[in-house]
Structures are given as C-alpha cells and as structure tokens.
Amino acid sequence: MRIFLTLTRRELAAFFVSVSGYVIIAAVTLLIGWSFVVVMTNLGSDPSPMPVTEMFYGTYFFWLIVLLATPIITMRLFALEKFSGTFETLMTAPVGDLQVVAAKFTAAAVFYLIMWLPLLACLFVVRHFTDQPATLDAGTIGGMYLGVFLVGCLFLSLGCFASALSRSQMAAAMISFVLGVSLFSLGFLAQAITAPTQWKTKLLSYFGLFDQMNDFAQGVVDTRTVIFYVSLTLFFLFLTLRVVESRRWK
C-alpha cells in the first residue's frame, strides 16, 4: 500500500511538473467555458425544463473533452517510461506489476477529476445568478460527477492499455483515441442499423454511452450502467496488467 501511494504521488506530480498537465487543464477549461456560454445563450433565448447539467451534455462539448483529453492524459503513463528507459529502473525495484498499473491509473483518474473542477465553478455561477437552488440540487450534481468519473475511468483504462502497448506516446494517444471513438460510436450503431435480430440491437444499446450519460446528467444512477462501466474499466486494466506482465513470458 505504501508503495502504491508513493507511486501514485509521483505519477500525479509528474502531471504538474511538466507543461502538458497545465495545457490539458487550460484547454479543458476553455472548452467547458465555451460550452457554458452556449448553454447559457440557449437558456436565455428559450426556457427549458431540462436540468442545466443535462443541457451541458446536449452540446457535445463533453464528449469532445472526454475523447480528446483522456488519450493525452494517459499516453505518457507507460510509453514515456519505456521510451526513456525508466521502466527498467521502475520494474527492477521491488514493486508488483499490479501496484504499478493501479498507481498509474489512479493518478490519471485523480488528474482527470481535477481537470473537471472548472465545471463545478460554472454550475455555481448559474446558481448564484438564478437564485433557484432547485435547478442544481446535490443529487443531480452528484449523479453527473459520478457519470463523468465513470466514463472517464473507462476511457482512461483504454488509454492505459494503449500506452502499455507502445513505446511511442504519439502511437499510444492514437491507439487510445481510435479505441475510444470506436467504443463511443458503438452506441450510435444501435440506432443506425435497423434491428436484424433483437439481441444484437439490445447488446449494442448497452454500449450507448451517450444515452447513459444523459441519465447520469438527470441525476439518474442506473446500477446496470454503473456495473457496465466499472466492469469494462476493470477489463481494460486487466489487459494493461497482462501487457505489463508479458515482459516476463516473452
């Protein structure tokens, strides 16, 4: 546990000692701000019964951020260490493979959460100027952040996997971007194809990340969705672990 914490701390610190961490946060803040402006303009012109959080996802900015930011956050994790050779110093220290994978993923997840903090500020601005506490109750925000977190974890685990596969950060980012976009578009596939068989559509609809996120944004936490995200995240982390271990049986 101590080793896990030590590793996580270093990984997290690595985001903040390099420029890249700040660039990601700045870019994401810009996009969040932008989407906020769009949402506010829409809200100003015609009133809507939707919660503000849900409107936010209606702008697609959210997915843009998740799909673009996660590969950039995770590309460094393994690829850079392999490229610079520090992976060798790391793995010859008495640390377990699982500890390394878990620490890197945790650091990425924490960074990801920090990256989303500006959104909270936007929501406070809304509350401050509308004087309507009902528009932003704790449940909605909690549900939304849980959704943001779970979706993020899934994409970050994809990114970890891609990073473990490659020695090049660029390649890692591209692999995880392609994997991420593919996973994301699976949900649309269900709508696009006219059901040849019932079960296929049903299976694809489980991958409807977009619709699931809408639920979260309304404050609806569906256990099935949570299990779906958690298990898929664990699955990709397991694959990452296998890739890291593969060194031993190659």
Binding site: R2, I3, T6, L7, R10, A14, V17, S18, S84, G85, T86, E88, T89, L90, M91, T92, A93, P94, V95, G96, R247, R248, W249, K250
Partner: protein, 321 residues
C-alpha cells in the same frame, strides 16, 4: 548451494526472436567481490544483467541471487539488489533529493530510514551540493552519480552497474571508480564495461564475454599470465640488417623475428621467443659480443588489451593464421 555465493548462474541462456543473446553461461560471484563483466558491444552483458535484475526472464537455466531464484522469488531478489541500467535512465523532471527519496520509499524503506539513507548516499556520491537541482539540468557526471546513489540507497547486498563510466570524462571516471572500489568489502559489485583498463583497475575478477559465451574468467593477473608466454621483445641495434637476420635465425631460442630499418643505422627488431623464454639477456650478450650499439631493449608487457583481442576474436585469429 554455496553459502558464500552471492550470484549463482547455471547454464543461463536467453534467446530473443531469432537471436541468441546469451548461450548457456555459468558463473558464481562470491560475497564481497567486485566482478567485471567484460566484452564488446552485443556480447550479452546487458542481457545477463537484466536477467539478474529480474527485468527479463531467462529462456533456460537458473539464476540465484543471495540464495533466491530470480524468477520465482523475484521480489526478494529485487529487494537485495541495486541495479543501474545502461544509459542510466532517470526521471529528469524530478529534483535529486526528491528522486532519491522516491526511490528509497519505492524500495520499501520507512520514512525516517529513507531520509537517513538518502542523506548518506548523497554524501557518499558527492551529491549534497546539488540536492535541490532538477536532474534534467545536471551534467552527465552528476546524473551518473544520481543513478549510483539510487542503486545504493536501500543498502543492497548486491550492486549491479551496467556501464557505469560510459560517457564520462577522465576525472569523473576516476571519481566513479573510487566510489565503486569503496563499496567492496560490504557489498558485492558486478559491473559491465568494454573498457579494459577500467576493469583491470576496479575488479578482483573478470569474466570475458563474447557472443553470449564466457570465454575466460579469472583475476586480471592470471589473465595476464595466460598470454605472457608469448612475450615479444623489441630491440633496436646499430648493426647491418643482414648480419642481424643471420644472427636471429641462428639463435634457437627465437621462434619468429622481424627486422625493419629505423632512423640512421639502427634496425628495429621484434623477436618472439620459443616457450616464453626471456630473450633480453641473450640479446644483450650478443650486442656486447659484436660491439653493436644497443639503444632499446623492451619486453612487451601484455596488457589486457591483448588478452581481450585474443579471447574475443578467436574466429578471426584462426582465419589469419
């Protein structure tokens, strides 16, 4: 199993796809020894070290470090070794003290103990002045010392250094060499290098590797003796070349000679004795007898360079002869 052995390697081989890097080597290293792994680039030194450090698995054979198997008891082994890989990779964005502290914690040292050890190794490696500097901004010599400090930080029984002096200037090499020599009685050290004089100066014992095999394993002195039998001598005499040739060919002690003109009336002769005899008294007596002026008489002390060339290139030698 030998109680006193720090490293026991038996029939170790490592094959990469389509290429054999290490071909069935065996050796042991006793506690407290400084052993040099010597060989040209691509001889399998780094691969051997990576296997010892539990980074790569062996294709076959067994490796024990301090009585633990490197594959099955990997964590136990890793706790006991300090390993500095080739090219000394470091987290360049970290500060020296921060990095060493991180490494100490990673190697399982407690908070207080890690602080103590970090201070000790920083002093030992001469890093106290740069403890707050960012590693990426340090010179190569300092970075190398940071790498060594990292290898030492958890006070390991075995220290494995892959090419510790590569890319350093002569002054820095001397510092590193002294540092390594200072580790000897308490720690076992395995270093790899392709620079001979370095190994000659630092090591109690040398293993010469070539093409994945160990060709010779002995102390530097014994390896000297191995080739000393063919000691050649160089003579410079003021005498007619023809007379010299006559003279050398008549001497039964000489197996092979070569005469070439030097400046003025001097002739430079390279004489190879039969059965490793010392030819110098014979030559002196001859010069005295003929009244030739002798201005040079030296025995080629075989340096390890020769041993190295001789053992590492057996194929070429056979082709030439």
């Amino acid at each position: 199993m030998n109680e006193n052995a720090m490293i026991e390697v038996t029939n170790l081989s490592k094959r990469y796809a389509g290429r054999t890097a290490v071909a069935g080597i065996s050796f042991t290293v006793a506690r407290g020894e400084i052993v040099g792994l010597l060989g040209p680039n691509g001889a399998g030194k780094s691969t051997t070290m990576r296997i010892l450090a539990c980074y790569l698995p062996a294709t076959s054979g067994t490796v024990h470090v301090g009585g633990f198997d490197v594959f099955h008891q990997s964590v136990e082994v890793r706790r006991r070794i300090g390993y500095m890989p080739e090219n000394n990779p470091l987290y360049l964005e970290m500060r020296v003290r921060e990095y060493l502290k991180f490494r100490a914690r990673l190697k399982g040292l407690g908070w207080r103990r890690s602080r103590e050890r970090v201070n000790t190794v920083m002093e030992q490696c001469g890093l106290t002045d740069v403890s707050r500097r960012i590693i990426g901004q340090l010179s190569k010599g300092y970075r190398q010392r940071v790498g060594m400090a990292d290898a030492l930080v958890h006070d390991p029984e075995l220290i494995i250094l892959d090419e510790p002096t590569i890319g350093l200037d002569p002054h820095q090499i001397r510092t590193v060499r002294q540092l390594i020599k200072g580790l000897a009685p308490l720690h076992t050290v395995l270093i790899s290098t392709h620079i001979l004089p370095e190994a000659e100066m630092m090591c109690n014992r040398m293993l010469i590797m070539y093409d994945g095999k160990i060709l010779a394993a002995d102390t530097p002195e014994n390896l000297q003796r191995l080739v000393a039998g063919k000691n050649q001598i160089i003579v410079e005499l003021a005498a007619p070349a023809a007379a010299l040739r006559d003279c050398w060919s008549q001497l039964p002690e000489i197996e092979y000679f070569d005469v070439s003109a030097s400046e003025g009336e001097y002739q430079r002769c390279a004489l190879t004795p039969r059965d490793g005899l010392d030819l110098r008294p014979v030559v002196f007596a001859l010069a005295l007898q003929n009244g030739w002026v002798l201005r040079e008489l030296t025995r080629n002390r075989h340096s390890l360079e020769d041993i190295y060339v001789q053992v590492t290139q057996p194929g070429e030698e056979e082709e030439n002869s």
